[in-house]
Amino acid sequence: MGHHRPNVTAMLRYSLKRLTSLLISLAVASLVIFLVIEVAPGDPASFMLGINAQPDTVAALRTELGLDVPKWQRYLDWVGGMLRGDFGTSYTYRTPVAGMIGDRLWVSLPLALFALTLSTAIAFPAGIYAASRRGKPGDVAVMGATQLGVAVPNFWFAMMLVLIFAINLRWFNAGGFVGWDAGFWAGIRSLTLPAISLALPQAAILARVMRSSLLDILGEDFMRTARAKGLSRRQALWQHGVRNALIPVLTIIGLQFSFLLAGSIIIEQVFYLPGLGRLVFQSISSRDLIVVESVVMLLVFSVILVNFLVDLAYALVDPRLRTRT
């Protein structure tokens, strides 16, 4: 049925507009990050050499690290390097930053995606179920559970999961990451408990958003129209309710992904995972500014990219947005 195809040119034009705004955001963000980190107190060279270092040694190291050239040039070098995939060399470890981030990303990205999949898989059915049983025992139970999920900190979940599934049942390891070399399923297995502990609070929030968004939609006139056509409550809910309720849910999913990518430092700590969160933390402690800059830039990039994807998803869900700017 040809008429089902969304208007392709409108969709393309919309995507191009969003893409332009993505590039502008990235440029602005890189400038802000560079400036903020440059004005942060603490000279990496003197930090690396300790407080008793001779001024000429510090100066030599500054030259070696490229800290003595004008700031605008360093900014351009930094941005140019990143575009070529060269993120510079870590001040502390003297290894390429790209490699360090790459290793960590192989842990953090799958973990974030895993957690997000879990949280969506829990939240959608829970939210839809609660909305369809508004005020009834099922709704009250789901809402109670989400209240708990929002209130209890995720590291407590993490510790409980470790206690039950790692220590008592011995289904999983209590911590550490075996690496993807050990095989896909082994990798997934060592990320399972961290992903669940990350996903539970997120799922609780998402389920509440899904429920309230759907309840708003259920009160809309077009739901009554659907019933007047002969759709049952359930049919009306699935065919007219859910898609309309998705916009706020997509917004929250976008925000959650960005948080999961970098904000999982506590969970990484609990499970001894070599993720991005711990890398940032260590780099900040040792004034390894080039690593901090790069990771922050990477996170900003991922947030902006996710927002871009969420924007595209909005337009797929809601035809009204395709024609608007």
């Binding site: 049925m1 089902h4 077009f222 129209t225 019933r227 007047a228 056509k229 002969g230 759709l231 309309n244």
Partner: protein
């Protein structure tokens, strides 16, 4: 043999009685209009027939649809009946369609949900139905989305959905109340045509007696959940038995007599006013387009004169109102009150602003529910240089409330303690309290029931005598404008297309648009002739 017969239907929700012993019937090919004021239970009657009552509703009596007892049919059975044997059209076309599905899918869904045809055939039928309701394929392909259509066009889609399976009964709940008069006339024609073509029964719910008298074969008048009178239209119009029916018709055509306006002295001068809205850019560095909402409008409102402004939605009358109030700057021309501009620099001119007040349509939404009436109606005092205090303030409050027919003691109450008509009286009190030179009534009686509207119109006429009011009365309702104004402006697409004495414009419209408007407005039957006949009996 009737198609739908409702026998002694009683309905209560949480022990509140909504309907009591309602009986009515609809025959195939017959249009039955259920009319009455808000709270009369007319919409609940319609929902009861659809089996779409709230879960907490309990019913007694019988609703027989072509041999099926609706009240005894379980939910799955009702799903099979809705859409197939009875279709429904609702009041608000702007929100009645799912915004994320194409109109083709939504019309075809009625067919598919009943598994009446294959998907391909269902789309063919959807196309056929859209053609039938006046949405031809070249301009309205099945792939259109609701947001690409106007209110009238959307209502056509809703009708196409409701009739896609050719139900024997169509229920229309205020189907044209949200539409402009010209669109209303087209939709009513469409409904009449469908009833004639398909031999459907039409149960039409409407508060508009002019529409009722024009459309219906039979009329059912309801009040407080009861049928007070019903009968064939011609009979009922001639022999109204119940006082409520007579009151309804009298209130619908209510006329007031205004005192003659004084000798013309200009108060408000609107000269060559343009108001442009910037549109969003279509290209990153391209020129944004402009939409001219008000285009070269000029008129003068004299002191003590009552001027009407009529036009359909989107014609620019609200924009013009906002510009007169100094709420928006204009791009060209000037607006003077008593010779002073209403807008200076980048802000409203307060010296002029305090000489104007406004009464809006929604009598509830325009009040803060947490303030008492005395605080609500003294709000305009903040415009004054030295607002009255102490006894003077109390006296002003008492006088304003008395002037609008309320009691001074009402000052201590909250707004939710009042009825819709009383709230609109309070809104008028708020506008009067500073004794403004000019009052703007922006659709001020459009949301009111006819009986309440008649009282408010009487109040306005009284106030004209007592306070020498000067007002601009903005409305889409021609019959009301006709009785409460001396002169009238007709606005179309941002321009004033006709201006003149109200009586002249209505009896002898010059501009084609004015002629269309007046022709499209449903007319009440000649009540005076009826009354003459009754007085002879």
């Amino acid at each position: 043999m009737s198609l739908l017969s409702i026998e002694n239907l009683s309905l209560s929700i949480h022990r509140f009685d909504i309907l009591a012993d309602v009986s009515l019937s609809v025959a195939p090919g017959e249009i039955v209009a259920v009319t009455g004021e808000s709270g009369s239970g007319k919409s609940m009657t319609a929902l009861a027939v659809m089996g779409l009552l709230p879960d907490s509703a309990s019913t007694r009596g019988r609703i027989d649809l072509d041999g099926t007892d609706i009240l005894k049919t379980p939910e799955p059975g009702m799903c099979a009946i809705r859409g197939q044997r009875v279709g429904m059209v609702f009041q608000e076309p702007m929100t009645a369609l799912n915004p994320v599905k194409t109109i083709g899918d939504q019309v075809a869904e009625t067919i598919l949900v009943h598994k009446a045809m294959t998907p391909a055939k269902a789309l063919d039928r959807a196309r056929e139905m859209l053609d039938r309701v006046g949405l031809p394929a070249d301009r309205f392909p099945l792939s259109r989305y609701p947001h690409e259509l106007s209110g009238g066009q959307r209502q056509r889609v809703v009708i196409a959905m409701a009739i896609a399976l050719r139900p024997k009964l169509l229920i229309a709940d205020e189907p044209t109340t949200a539409l402009d008069v010209t669109t209303q006339a087209q939709i009513l024609d469409l409904l009449k045509g469908l009833v004639a073509d398909y031999g459907m029964g039409l149960l039409m719910i409407t508060h508009d007696l002019a529409v009722v008298a024009d459309m219906a074969d039979r009329i059912v008048v309801m009040r407080n959940g009861e049928v007070v009178e019903q009968g064939p239209t011609a009979d009922l119009l001639v022999n109204m038995q119940h006082p409520y029916t007579r009151m309804l018709f009298a209130a619908s055509g209510h006329q007031v007599s205004l005192p003659p306006p004084p000798a013309p002295v200009p108060l408000l001068q609107v000269q060559n006013v343009h108001r442009d809205y910037r549109l969003s850019r279509t290209r990153l560095f391209g020129d944004p387009g402009y939409f001219r909402a008000v285009n070269d409008v000029s008129f003068t409102l004299n002191r003590g004169e009552r001027l009407g402004l009529v036009g359909e939605s989107g014609c620019g009358k609200s924009t013009l109102t906002r510009a007169i109030l100094g709420l928006e700057n204009i791009q060209h021309g000037q607006i003077l009150l008593d010779g002073q501009p209403v807008f200076t620099g980048h802000k409203p001119n307060l010296a002029v602003r305090r000489k104007m007040q406004v009464v809006f349509q929604d009598p509830f939404g325009s009040f803060n529910p947490r303030h008492r009436v005395d605080r609500l109606i003294t709000e305009p005092f903040h415009l004054l240089v030295s607002p009255p205090t102490g006894t003077a303030r109390q006296d002003a409050i008492a006088e304003a409330l008395t002037a609008v027919g309320l009691r001074p003691q009402d000052a201590q109450k909250y707004i939710h303690e009042f009825s819709g008509g009383q709230r609109q009286r309070i809104a008028i009190a708020r506008a009067l309290i500073t004794r403004p030179d000019l009052i703007l009534f922006d659709e001020a009686v459009s949301a009111l029931d006819v009986s309440v509207r008649a009282q408010i119109l009487d109040l306005m006429a009284e106030l004209c005598t007592a306070y020498d009011l000067t007002y601009l009365f903005i409305s889409h309702d021609l019959s009301v404008v006709r009785t409460v104004t001396d002169r009238v402006l007709v606005m179309q697409a941002g321009q004033i297309v006709e201006a003149g004495e109200t009586a002249d414009v209505f009896t002898n419209p010059q501009h084609p648009y004015t002629q269309t408007l007046i022709a499209a407005a449903p007319q009440l039957p000649d009540l005076e002739a009826l009354q003459r006949r009754q007085s002879h009996v």
